[in-house]
C-alpha cells in the first residue's frame, strides 16, 4: 500500500500537469495548421528558437514578459518563413519543416556562442523566469497539499489548459475557425466562395507560431529558467504525433497530451524500482503507440456485432416484406 502511495499521489497529478503543458501548448499551435490542411513537422524548431529568444529577451529587457514577447516573435518569424515557402512557393511541407528544425538548432548554438561566448547552456546571467501564480484562496479551500493541484504554476500552464475550451469555441463558432476547417477539409469549396486559401493558411501558420512560441518560452522561462542546446528534446515531434491522431481537435489533443504527460510522469516514478532506465524511458512512447493501436482497433468493423444487428433487423423487418414471394426461411 505504501509503495502505491509513493506512486499515486497528488504529486503525480501535479507532475502530469507540468509534463503535459509544453506539449499541449505546441500541439495546440499545431492544431491550427493541421486543421488548415498543413502537415507541420517544424514545431520542434519553432519551439526551440522561441525558447532561446525568450531567454535573450528576458535578459535584455530584464523582464520575463519581455522575454515571452521576444520569444514568441522569433517563433512567428520562423512560422512566417514556413508559410512563405509552403504556401506561396509550394515547397514540400515536410522538407521545409525538417529544414527549419535543423536551422533552429544551428542558429541557437551559433547565436549562443556569439552572444554569450559559450556553448551548451545559458543559466543565470540575469534571466528572469516567469512568476508562479498563487491563486488566492486555493490554500484555504483545498488545504496545502491539494492546493498545488491548481495553484502555484507559471502563467503559461493556465494559458495552455484554458486555451483548450477557447479553441473548441474558436473552431465551432468563429469565422476564422470555420475557414481554417474548410480550407483543410475542402479547399475547392473555400476557393469558389472567395475565401483565400493562401491567406487562411498564412494565418494558420502564424497562429501556430504563436503557440509554439509560447511553448518555447514556457520551456525556458516557466518550466525551468535557462536555455540549453536542443532543449525542446523531441516534444515538438511528440506533438506532431498527437496532432495526427487527434486530427487537430482541441479536446483530443488535450487527451493525447495528458496521456503522454501522465505516462512520462509515471514512468519517471517507476525508475526507483530499478528497472533499466532505457526501458523505462521508452514507456511513454510505448504507451502512446499502444493507445494509437487500441484506438484504431476499436474502430474496426465489428463483424460479429454487425452480423447480429443485421439479423435482428432482418427479422424485425420481415413482416413488412411484400408478401411471401421471397424465399424467407433459409436464413440462419
Amino acid at each position: 500500500m505504501e509503495i502505491l502511495a509513493t506512486f499515486f499521489n497528488v504529486g503525480l497529478v501535479v507532475a502530469t500537469i507540468r509534463t503535459t503543458t509544453p506539449i499541449l501548448l505546441v500541439a495546440l499551435g499545431g492544431s491550427f495548421t493541421t486543421k488548415a490542411g498543413i502537415f507541420n513537422i517544424g514545431l520542434e524548431g519553432q519551439m526551440l528558437i522561441a525558447a532561446f529568444f525568450a531567454v535573450i529577451g528576458s535578459i535584455w529587457t530584464g523582464s520575463s514578459f519581455g522575454g515571452l514577447l521576444i520569444g514568441v516573435a522569433a517563433a512567428l518569424a520562423f512560422a512566417l518563413v514556413y508559410a512563405v515557402l509552403v504556401v506561396s512557393f509550394r515547397a514540400n511541407e515536410v522538407v521545409v519543416g525538417l529544414a527549419l528544425n535543423i536551422l533552429a538548432g544551428g542558429m541557437t548554438i551559433s547565436l549562443m556562442k556569439a552572444i554569450f561566448g559559450t556553448r551548451g547552456s545559458v543559466v543565470g546571467r540575469g534571466i528572469v523566469g516567469l512568476p508562479k501564480v498563487q491563486l488566492p484562496g486555493a490554500r484555504d479551500i483545498l488545504g496545502p497539499s491539494y492546493a498545488q493541484l491548481i495553484s502555484g504554476y507559471t502563467p503559461l500552464v493556465y494559458v495552455a489548459f484554458l486555451s483548450v475550451p477557447l479553441l473548441v469555441l474558436f473552431y465551432a463558432r468563429t469565422r476564422l475557425g470555420l475557414y481554417l476547417r474548410v480550407v483543410g477539409e475542402k479547399p475547392e469549396a473555400a476557393e469558389t466562395l472567395g475565401i483565400s486559401i493562401a491567406r487562411v493558411r498564412y494565418i494558420a501558420s502564424l497562429l501556430c507560431g504563436l503557440f509554439a512560441g509560447l511553448a518555447g518560452a514556457h520551456m525556458s522561462l516557466g518550466y525551468i529558467t535557462m536555455f540549453t542546446e536542443n532543449m525542446s528534446s523531441g516534444r515538438g515531434f511528440m506533438a506532431v504525433a498527437i496532432l495526427i491522431f487527434s486530427a487537430g481537435d482541441p479536446l483530443k489533443v488535450l487527451l493525447g497530451c495528458l496521456l503522454f504527460g501522465f505516462a512520462d510522469a509515471f514512468s519517471l516514478r517507476l525508475q526507483i524500482l530499478n528497472f533499466p532506465s532505457y526501458l523505462i524511458l521508452a514507456v511513454p512512447y510505448a504507451v502512446a503507440l499502444l493507445a494509437l493501436f487500441a484506438l484504431s482497433w476499436r474502430t474496426r468493423p465489428k463483424l460479429i456485432r454487425e452480423t447480429l444487428e443485421t439479423m435482428r433487423n432482418a427479422l424485425a423487418e420481415k413482416p413488412q416484406d411484400s408478401g411471401g414471394k421471397l424465399p424467407a426461411d433459409n436464413r440462419p
Binding site: V94, V95, L100, I102
Partner: protein, 351 residues
C-alpha cells in the same frame, strides 16, 4: 508520373534549382560574412573537403551511402502512399541486428556477411511490421506510429547495447564483429565499402521496379489512387503492407551496411539523423529513387566538405548546419512558380 521526366519540365526544374542554390549560397555568404570569414574561401574549402582528392571523394561517397539507402527506403514508402518516418528506428535495429550476428556467430566469410545483412533487413522489416499491420488492417496512421517507434527503437538498442551485450571495459558499444562479417572495402585509402554499390544498385532497381514491373505498377497505383486500385482488383492492404515492409527492410539494410561496412560494431546512438536525411533527400527528389542518388550525393558532399571546413576555417559546425538548412529550404521551394491561376494549395502527401 512520367511527365516529370519530360525535357521541358526537366529544364525548368533544373533552372529553378540552380536559382535556388544561388539564393541559398548568397544567404550563406551573408551568414559567413557575419562571422568574419571570407565566403569564397569557405565555399572553396567546402568543395575541397568534398572533392579535393580521391580520399575526399571517397569520404563524400562514404557519407552518401547511408543517406542514399535511407532515401531509397523513403522513396519506396512514398510511392506506395506510405509515409515511413520510422526509417531512423529501422536503421538502428538493422544496425544492431547485423552487429549481433557479426559478433555472436562465427561463420565463413561471405556467408557471414550475407547472414548479417539478412538479419539487418529482417530486423528493419520486423520493426515496421507492427505499425504496418495496424495501418493496413485498422487504419492506424503510420506517420504517428513510426515516429513513436523511432524513440522506442533507439532506447531499445541502447538497452541491448549497454545491458545485454556491452563490450567488457568498453564504452557503450557491443563487442566488435568478426572480420568475416566485414563488408569488403573498395579502396585501400578509405572506409568506403560496397555499401555504396548496394545503395546505387538498390536505387536503380527500385526505379526499374516501379517503372516496369506489374507489382511496381500496382503499388504505384495504390499510392496515387487507392480507391481506384481497390476497384481495379489490386489488394490495397497487401500492397500497403508490402510497401511498408520493404521500406522498413531497406531502412534496416542501411543500418546493417553502416555496422558491417564502417563501424564494425554497434554503438549507442551510432547514426542519428540519417533516417531524416534520407527522408529529406527522397522528398527533394520527389520520390524518385534515381533523383535520390543525386540529392543524397549532394547531402553527402555537404557533410564531407563541412568536416574540412571546421578544421581549415573559423566556421564552426553550427554555421555549417545553418548554411545546409538554408540550402535545403531554398531548393525545396518551387521558385519558378508557373500556374498562377489556381490557388488551391495542392498537397502532395495526405495524412
Amino acid at each position: 508520373m512520367i511527365s516529370s521526366l519530360l525535357p521541358r519540365n526537366l529544364r525548368r526544374t533544373l533552372a529553378g534549382q540552380l536559382l535556388a542554390l544561388a539564393i541559398a549560397l548568397a544567404l550563406g555568404a551573408v551568414v559567413i560574412l557575419m562571422i568574419d570569414e571570407n565566403p569564397l574561401r569557405v565555399f572553396a574549402t567546402l568543395m575541397r573537403g568534398a572533392f579535393g582528392d580521391s580520399e575526399k571523394i571517397a569520404g563524400t561517397l562514404l557519407q552518401t551511402t547511408p543517406i542514399l539507402i535511407c532515401g531509397v527506403a523513403a522513396c519506396i514508402g512514398l510511392r506506395g502512399g506510405m509515409f515511413n518516418v520510422g526509417i531512423e528506428g529501422q536503421l538502428f535495429l538493422g544496425g544492431f541486428a547485423a552487429a549481433w550476428v557479426g559478433f555472436s556467430f562465427a561463420l565463413p566469410p561471405v556467408l557471414h556477411v550475407l547472414v548479417a545483412v539478412a538479419a539487418a533487413v529482417a530486423a528493419g522489416a520486423a520493426w515496421v511490421s507492427v505499425p504496418a499491420y495496424f495501418r493496413v488492417r485498422f487504419g492506424a496512421n503510420e506517420v504517428v506510429s513510426t515516429i513513436l517507434a523511432n524513440y522506442v527503437a533507439v532506447l531499445l538498442t541502447s538497452y541491448f547495447t549497454i545491458f545485454l551485450f556491452k563490450r567488457p571495459g568498453g564504452w557503450s558499444e557491443t563487442p566488435p564483429i568478426l572480420p568475416s562479417a566485414y563488408l569488403p572495402e573498395l579502396f585501400s585509402f578509405s572506409r568506403l565499402n560496397i555499401g555504396l554499390l548496394i545503395g546505387l544498385a538498390l536505387a536503380v532497381a527500385t526505379a526499374l521496379f516501379f517503372r516496369f514491373t506489374t507489382t511496381g505498377y500496382a503499388v504505384t497505383m495504390v499510392g496515387s489512387a487507392p480507391k481506384f486500385a481497390d476497384y481495379g482488383g489490386i489488394n490495397v492492404r497487401r500492397a500497403g503492407f508490402g510497401v511498408l515492409l520493404a521500406s522498413g527492410a531497406v531502412g534496416g539494410l542501411a543500418g546493417g551496411v553502416e555496422t558491417l561496412g564502417v563501424h564494425h560494431r554497434f554503438m549507442e546512438g551510432f547514426a542519428p539523423g540519417f533516417g531524416f536525411d534520407g527522408l529529406i533527400a527522397a522528398l527533394l527528389a520527389n520520390g524518385s529513387p534515381i533523383g535520390t542518388i543525386f540529392t543524397a550525393l549532394f547531402f553527402g558532399a555537404l557533410r564531407a566538405g563541412s568536416l574540412l571546413l571546421e578544421v581549415d576555417t573559423t566556421a564552426s559546425r553550427e554555421i555549417i548546419t545553418v548554411i545546409q538548412a538554408l540550402i535545403i529550404l531554398a531548393v525545396s521551394a518551387d521558385l519558378l512558380l508557373r500556374r498562377k491561376g489556381d490557388r488551391t494549395g495542392g498537397r502532395r502527401w495526405k495524412f
